[in-house]
Symmetry: C2
Subunit: 581 residues, 2 copies
């Protein structure tokens, strides 16, 4: 492909609406163009990257006996009513009526379609296990798309669904798929992708993992124990508390005036206490009935809303507190709180003594609160966020760290949620009817591409791993007006293409600086520079985009040198790919 | 792939809802499953066929300098408002509001998205010409989906868009693409695909061609001249009339009683005339205002509604005639018709004399109508359907034939319809602002697969061309319980896979008849039968799905024989592929 014919524009200025680097570079490099909020078209370079990623994914799915199918983008609402998700999923699920008034949805995930496809096939035990997958467009009407291809509304996804007759069999397959995912990220050259335990959310099921590409711009927080290797998404991370200090003599409960001191910081400072000896109250309302919910936890902790939601069993939103509300904003405490309010106590308050808390009275707090004495019968649950320096729930060491990451894939043990709700059964060896046990496995293709660009770039452009680079090599003809330079450039370009190296060729009559800027943005891992100056010495310059290699070789050796460097770069990737299971 | 693991069921009975053979066979063979009316999931065999077709299409598009991109499925309504199609296209265009109330549409074609993508890139003349294409899901909310994958609502389509700075350049590229399409059909092994001139319909533009796969179950009628090779879709076919006979003396106009004779046949019989000397009146109403339109043409001809619509410049529907209507159903004629009615005269009535026509009076007709004398000033246009035995508009020979076909692709010279309405301009060499001239080029992948199955099958299953067959070969182990038969089958299967032959392997312990039925449905072109009986002679049986080859070879030669047959089958296809332009 000649750069002069390549559709798409490249430019220098960082677009003002791009917050993260990968987004800016993919716009500047002519990879993507926004069509609507969170909806993008891909120019040829991005399409080439995603095709290479798709090919890797296909190979790995086929390797673990996946069979490629294709589900529709547009699904009948009735199918989602069967599973109950038509009703339970919020307006992230795009719904419309077709010309006959039949409710339709845009597939945001395809568990229902997978069950529908294999309901008859899977009617007898001896056809299990099996896994089907597709690579197809999904639409999720996200409230806040952001960061280019990292969080979008429409995206290409590989989603796979496995079906089993026992939990053991699911777990065995889950482990194979877990490994296949590790291989996919390694083969795509993604640096630092780790699997973490996650919350299953609307997918249902119990065990699930997310694959997180670690980068500071990630939306997710990941809790990691450097001692034992424990890893979990913040949403799912358990928070372990050291037992509360128990002073010899408990203070008495005393109501004190705290005029205008409505935040933990203000109260603690005013009363000369500390946040670990104060009770934080966070107020929510249920989505269904706007009923007030107060989460109480130690003053130095934060609420993990996912855990809180799971414990409540219903969705909540931050409360809108008015004078008519049954809580006194800024002065809420567990003693004497209105019976209209549902209260939830975090484990951090278990056995707590000598605490400061709101008195449910404007401008008043209590000191000396003892949970066991003053709030008898309170139940304690885990609703606080894990934190850096916190205690690992596996090994007990207090060295947890918190990193940021982008979720580039997830795998779920779904159990029988979908087979049961959609009444998919098989006859087992004893003639009994059973629900198959399902797993599901997703990877967003565009997000993976963008995440790799985010993790591997410099200020000049993406540094694509050789395995997914839009082109493996680029020939830069530095003086297209010089016949000899042009001839040798062209010969090399043709020889590379003939050798099966997907090559970009820049023979535009432009300044070297402009040519190199474009080459940096297009990110071919190997660059071949043909210039009159080097040719005078009978040489051609070859370098890598990551600057690890820069050599001059005789013209006659250029082709084999490029092939050798490509092999080396590919070998470096292959070495990191774990064995498949 | 082992048949025993292949997801999908195969069965004997023709499903009662399948009207065409390809649909029945693709359901019976476990290729497709309906999810909603006109919406299907693809099982692995169908996905394999479509992937092979997609690969052929990609190669041919790349060969004519197409660059693959990806447009969104979900597009903002505002983009379609720019082109005017948001308003002009009927409810075949699926529309919905996103969570913010923004109107969105599901892409049924992507001219708007193509212009949006390259509007900036195409701002200067020296970047032209270029062509971008995608292979992506489309949704068209068709009123009457039918025939399995042949007419669906959701489908995978390759759609390409070219941009030019002159009509000559477009025509040159159009010719290259025309040839690329011929190559695609030939490479996919589609028998008898012909290009015909077509009506451009809602796409706009003037010159367009459809590629028709000839088959009796086709929805389209194609007019063909066996003398000169003229071909056109019935919708676009010109109808040429021989000059009307001119008797020496014209009869006088006479009003005659024709009680209850409201059809051409009845009137002609009653008055002892013939249909060629009668005037047929067909009544429509405009969609916009329900205004009445009467099309007059010779009694033996039919109205071509596409040509009539084009000539009126607005959409029409068959009239709903009541007592209050300005026409007298069954007795409508050109003399004395209400001025409220718009009349259109077909060319077949030009200079016509001695005709029977309605008298616009219940139970009365005229005889002796002379168009020039009795309907002075009438304008004659071409609104009649061409017919078998009609006159070729190119060579003038009266040997037209009418065949049926399935449209498996189309190419359009769009002109500046989209660039102008969406204000995409470039600066030409003289510094003037110009609208680029566009072409567009579509192929439905699933429809092509189904059409080939329709054109090439027997009652046992599809006879896939080797180039798109889900598997090239199948090894049938006829006695899985016999260790020697099993061992040799397995070795052969593994040797074929290792040799790069995508092979299906059936080692189920079932009767040969059942195994062959499945093999017929899955349609691998080469079948390898390993049985104790043949092994006793040291032989293996190899045959082709189309029954053209059936041989027994020594076990040691089986692998090379299969490879040889596959090469032969591929050669037979390759020989029919025209050179690219």
């Amino acid at each position: 492909m000649k750069v002069k014919n390549l559709v798409g524009e490249r430019f220098k200025e960082r677009p003002s609406d791009c917050v993260v680097d990968s987004h800016a570079l993919m716009v500047r490099g002519g990879y993507i163009k926004q069509v609507a909020n969170g909806i993008f078209s891909l120019f040829p370079p991005a399409r080439r990257v995603t095709q290479k990623i798709e090919a890797i994914i296909r190979e790995e799915m086929d390797r673990i006996d996946g069979q490629e199918v294709l589900f529709p983008v547009v699904l009948p609402g009735s199918l989602w009513m069967e599973s109950g998700r038509y009703q339970s999923v919020d307006n992230t699920l795009a719904r419309f009526d077709d010309r006959n008034g039949t409710p339709m949805v845009l597939g945001m995930t395809h568990e229902e379609a997978a069950v529908q496809l294999v309901r008859e096939y899977g009617s007898t035990y001896n056809r299990y296990p099996f896994m089907i997958y597709q690579i197809q467009t999904k639409f999720r009407d996200e409230a806040r798309p952001r960061a280019g291809l990292i969080r979008v509304r429409e995206f290409t996804m590989k989603d796979g669904y496995s079906f089993h007759t026992s939990q053991e069999d699911l777990e065995k397959y889950y482990a194979r798929c877990y490994r296949a995912y590790e291989r996919i990220y390694a083969r795509a050259g993604a640096p630092e992708v780790i699997a973490v335990k996650s919350d299953s959310g609307m997918m249902g099921g119990s065990v699930s993992h997310e694959y997180m590409l670690l980068t500071d711009i990630g939306e997710d927080s990941i809790v990691i124990c450097p001692d034992c290797g424990y890893r979990a998404n913040m949403e799912a991370a358990e928070n372990i508390m050291a037992p509360a200090d128990q002073p010899d003599e408990a203070a008495a409960l005393e109501k004190v005036s705290t005029p205008g001191k409505a935040t933990i910081e203000e109260v603690v400072e005013y009363l000369h206490g500390d946040s670990q000896h104060s009770v934080k109250a966070v107020v929510y309302q249920t989505n269904a009935e706007d009923k007030f919910v107060v989460a109480f936890l130690r003053g130095d902790l934060e609420v993990n809303e996912t855990k809180l939601t799971n414990c409540l069993g219903e969705n909540i939103h931050p409360a809108f507190v008015t004078e008519d509300s049954p809580v006194v904003a800024g002065f809420i405490g567990p003693v004497g709180i209105s019976s209209e309010v549902k209260v939830v106590f975090d484990r951090s308050l278990e056995n707590a003594v000598d605490m400061i808390c709101g008195a449910n009275d404007k401008d008043y707090h209590y000191t000396g609160l003892s949970m066991n004495r003053d709030v008898p019968g309170a139940q304690f649950v885990d609703i606080a966020k894990a934190f850096a320096g916190g205690i690992c729930p596996v090994c007990g060491q207090p060295h947890l760290t918190v990193s940021r990451g982008i979720e580039v894939g997830n795998i779920f043990q779904l159990g029988i949620k979908y087979s049961k709700s959609m009444n998919m059964t098989y006859t087992d060896a004893d003639g009994n009817s059973q629900y198959p046990i399902m797993g599901c496995y997703g990877i967003g293709v565009g997000r993976l591409a963008a995440s790799i660009a985010e993790a591997s770039h410099d200020k000049f452009g993406p540094i694509w791993p050789i395995s997914i680079a839009p082109w493996s090599a680029e020939v830069c003809c530095l003086r297209a007006d010089d016949p000899e330079t042009k001839r040798i450039s062209e010969e090399l370009y043709e020889a590379l293409e003939k050798a099966g190296v997907d090559t970009l060729y820049d023979d535009r009559d432009i300044r070297p600086g402009a040519m190199f800027s474009d080459a940096d943005l297009l990110g071919a891992p190997v660059r071949v520079i043909v210039s009159p100056k080097n040719l005078a010495n009978g040489e051609i310059e070859i370098s890598t985009r990551d600057k690890s290699i820069q050599v001059k070789v005789p013209v006659a050796e250029a082709l084999s040198k490029v092939k050798e460097i490509i092999r080396t770069l590919q070998d470096q990737i292959d070495q990191k790919v774990p064995e498949s299971l």
